[in-house]
């Protein structure tokens, strides 16, 4: 059988054992023997690891010595090693697209329990590949330029790190943050584990560097609205929310806030997790970047009634002489063009009111760990004093681990940071109040540099550790010792006793969750989420910051729970990936575009309306449709619809797909 481009196919089939991953379940020698019987197969070999150098050498040698002109490798998923083997085919001296991969690991050996059935299925998949590859033809990849600018979504520690790395390398970076200041969760912490570094001492310099960096365009109070385009050439629409304060004019002097008609702050501060108060015009925290006031229209009297004396505006104009407040500011839509995107949108904490037995929201002295972070923070509402809602110093504090985590009723995953931050809070509470601290944990998980040592240190600091999941927090007391206190009921599983521990304060170590609007962002950027809702990486081990959408990378806790060092490391990795893409300057696109055979096109227009990228135009003088190669993304929707069968998709031609189907069904 001669192929379409005239040559007689001489096929080499290479079946990989993948150690025992394939060979342990599939009878590889049998598959190889079977492959030898298939049409145009000149050679069929097996090898322990086809992706290894010697494995690839087999292909190159056979191309040269046996004049192989088609290569089939039966091994893992093409998503893993298609590039490897295309390259080997090319290095052997053949066009890389004269290669096809048969997936007999992910789709066979790993999911089929019966070895006989697995072997039969592997044979079918190899036969399909052999049938298909007869119709492969040499193709040229298309190269498109990569726009050198980068978009980073999220201004927490991951986004900040990535932005600085890229900006220092000379790239123009757009850093978009939804809140009015960058800093993310880290800005709310007082100390960081296990070294007890002051969080703001290490974060604030980075934040101000971001603001002053000539290569970083910082857009706070802004959100991504629309994303268009593809790797190397994204067009992104950004919505800048009105903050009613002109950023360039505000110097962050607080005079407007002092002169607000509200003499004292009355509204819960979002930054202080609601335990501190703010005015309708506010700066979320003293180290905010940019240090610019913002007006909340939901609470500002001017926005609610239009009858405010607008003392803030007057003060800014008359005392400061800046006239920065503008109640008529409108939201702005900006359009930017970038070559790559890093998503670093972080996490949200588990809402503990979902666990009614822990009494959050019902008992005032039950706090989330993040609220306590604000309490212990020197710039927090109490100036760093750990006090109860009534101002008393707690004598005893219980810290409940795994709230919402490792719990089938809520989130099954381990949030990774809670054990460590619980230890940190235990240390800080003990240090600052001298209170008795009880840490109730299920398992103590402290893997990390210096983490176990930190736990060891706490064991000697007089903190009580109780191994057991807390059943409830209650104010129902049964003896005078418990009067006026909250009682923790917990089974101490190390001594087999159910205990009642009266405490003044309960800290719930809430877990980490994907952001509630992660789903919307995922759709904007065409990336995937895991079943839990975290953004999905391309490969859990080997491509942890890439996504299946080329040019879109993920960093930090939006990919899964992680601590600061891991988030920073991932941000650096993402910045590295972006640099490698942007500095290359061009990107090779898969040549899977659709092509119209003008002789067969009847000019019916069906394809034109179907194309989601407006890549098809009608040429009236010839009465045919034509595809703009630069716009075609290779989905093949037009191919499946053409009534004249005039359109074909490279790499996915009808004869290739039909041959594959036929081959799959030959083996019983």
């Amino acid at each position: 059988m001669a192929s379409k481009n005239g040559d007689i196919p001489r096929i080499g089939v290479y079946v990989c054992h993948c150690g025992t991953n394939i060979g342990g379940q599939v009878n590889v020698p049998e598959v190889v023997a079977f492959a030898r019987t298939l049409p145009n197969v000149v050679v069929a070999r097996e090898y322990k690891y086809m992706c290894s150098d010697p494995g690839q050498m087999l292909i190159k040698e056979d191309i040269q010595k046996l004049n192989i002109n088609r290569v089939v490798v039966a091994s893992c998923s093409p998503h893993l090693h298609e590039h490897t083997f295309r390259k080997a085919t090319l290095e052997g001296g053949r066009n890389p697209f004269l290669f096809h991969m048969a997936n007999i690991r992910e789709h066979v050996s790993w999911v089929t329990q019966d070895p006989e059935k697995a072997t039969e299925k592997a044979k079918a998949i190899v036969e399909a590949a052999v049938y298909r590859i007869q119709f492969h033809e040499p193709l040229e990849s298309k190269h498109v330029p990569v726009h050198p600018d980068v978009l980073i979504v999220g201004g927490g520690i991951a986004g900040i790190t990535a932005a600085l790395t890229l900006a220092d390398a000379g790239k123009t970076v757009y850093l978009i943050e939804r809140e009015s200041s960058i800093g993310g969760h880290m800005a709310k912490f007082d100390k960081t584990f296990p070294t007890l570094d002051c969080a703001s001492c290490i974060l604030t310099p980075k934040m101000t560097t971001v603001k002053d960096h000539p290569n970083i365009h910082l857009m706070t109070y802004a959100e991504v609205l629309e994303v268009d385009g593809y790797v190397g050439n994204f067009r992104v629409k950004v919505k800048k929310k009105p903050r009613y304060v002109i950023e360039d004019r505000c110097i962050g002097c607080y005079v407007c806030i002092e002169h607000c008609v509200y003499k004292t702050p009355k509204h819960p501060s979002e930054f202080d997790e609601g335990i501190g108060l703010r005015k309708p015009i506010y700066i979320p925290f003293p180290q905010a970047v940019p240090l610019v006031a913002v007006i909340d229209p939901e609470t500002c009297i001017e926005f609610k009634s239009g009858r405010c004396p607008k003392k803030c505006q007057k003060a800014c104009r008359e005392i400061v002489g800046r006239d920065a407040i503008d109640f008529t500011q409108k939201e702005e839509i900006l359009e930017i063009q970038v070559g790559a995107v890093i998503i670093a949108t972080g996490f949200q904490i588990f809402d503990p009111s979902r666990i009614p037995e822990y009494g959050y929201g019902r008992y005032p002295n039950v706090y989330t760990s993040l609220e306590v972070e604000r309490l212990v923070n020197a710039s927090g509402p109490t100036g760093g004093a750990i006090v109860l809602r009534d101002g008393r110093k707690p004598q005893s504090v219980a810290i409940i681990h795994c709230v919402g985590s490792r719990d089938r009723n809520y989130n099954p995953w381990c949030s990774r940071v809670c054990c460590m931050y619980s230890l940190k809070l235990a240390h800080l509470v003990r240090e600052r109040t001298g209170a008795e601290v009880y840490n109730c944990y299920i398992d103590m998980r402290t893997p990390g540099k210096g983490y176990e040592e930190f736990y060891e240190k706490l064991l000697h600091e007089g903190v009580h550790f109780i191994r057991g999941k807390v059943a409830e927090v209650t104010d129902w007391t049964i003896n005078p010792e418990e009067a006026g206190k909250l009682v923790i009921r917990v089974e101490d599983s190390l001594i087999g006793v159910v205990r009642r521990i009266p405490v003044d304060m309960v800290i719930l170590s809430v877990g980490l969750e994907p952001r509630s609007d992660a789903e919307e962002l995922r759709r904007l950027f065409h990336i995937s989420c895991s079943a839990e809702g975290w953004f999905l990486e391309r490969h859990p081990k080997l491509a942890p910051v890439s996504t299946y959408t080329d040019g879109v990378y993920i960093a930090g806790a939006c990919q899964g729970p992680k601590d600061i060092p891991d988030a920073v490391a991932q941000a650096g990795a993402a910045a590295g990936e972006v640099l490698s893409l942007v500095d290359r300057g061009v990107i090779e696109l898969e040549p899977n575009i659709a092509v119209i055979d003008a002789r067969r096109c009847s000019g019916c227009h069906v394809c034109i309306a179907l194309c989601p990228f407006s890549a098809i135009a009608f040429h009236a003088e010839e009465n045919v449709a034509r595809i703009n190669e630069a716009l075609c993304k290779g989905c093949g929707v037009c191919v499946g619809a053409c009534p004249s069968r005039a359109i074909s998709q490279q790499l996915f031609k009808d004869e290739q797909i039909l041959a594959e189907i036929e081959g799959l069904l030959m083996v019983d």
Partner: protein, 160 residues
């Protein structure tokens, strides 16, 4: 009949269901060995001929796997698949083919477990319906079908 193992051709989108099948592998989620997968870039690429060709060549069922509505990597290819599938099912019925033999499912890249459920369930359904050739005179001139197959082909129940 009891040892009948249906053959299923899976026509899977590269970005979701194909990846779900990869994930099923990586997470060692076993499912019926009856499924054999063809990768396409988008479920919208699938031409009715691919489905008919599969049946003609001995498939007992065809499973089309695409992205959830709104999630298409190419914006809206899966909606086109949905439309084509509905039409194709009507065509299959007119040919005397039980329309349950063609199944369209939205399975995202993370839904390995859904893939397992769908494949296992589809395999069971096809076992109950029986081999393809028994009920389709157009592929086999002499009608040799069993009464059970007739009952199955007139079943109007739509699968989920």
């Amino acid at each position: 009949m009891s040892d009948f193992e249906p053959k299923i051709i899976g026509l899977f989108c590269n970005w979701c269901t194909y990846l779900a099948a990869d994930l099923a592998g990586v997470s060692r989620t076993p499912y019926a060995a009856n499924l054999r997968i063809v990768r396409v870039m988008c479920s919208g690429r699938i031409h009715p001929e691919h489905v008919l060709w599969a049946f003609r060549n001995g498939a007992d069922g065809v499973l089309i796997g695409g992205c959830h509505p709104g999630d298409c990597h190419y914006i809206e290819g899966n909606f086109k698949t949905l439309r084509r599938c509905l039409l194709l099912k009507r065509l299959l019925e007119q040919f005397g083919v039980d329309k349950r033999r063609l199944r369209l499912e939205w399975i995202s890249a993370s839904e390995a477990d859904k893939l397992r459920r769908v494949v296992d369930d589809f395999t069971e359904t096809l076992r109950a319906i029986g081999p393809f050739a028994r009920e389709t005179p157009i592929f086999r001139p002499a009608r040799t079908e069993a009464p059970g197959a007739v009952a199955a082909s007139t079943d109007t129940k739509e699968e989920g």
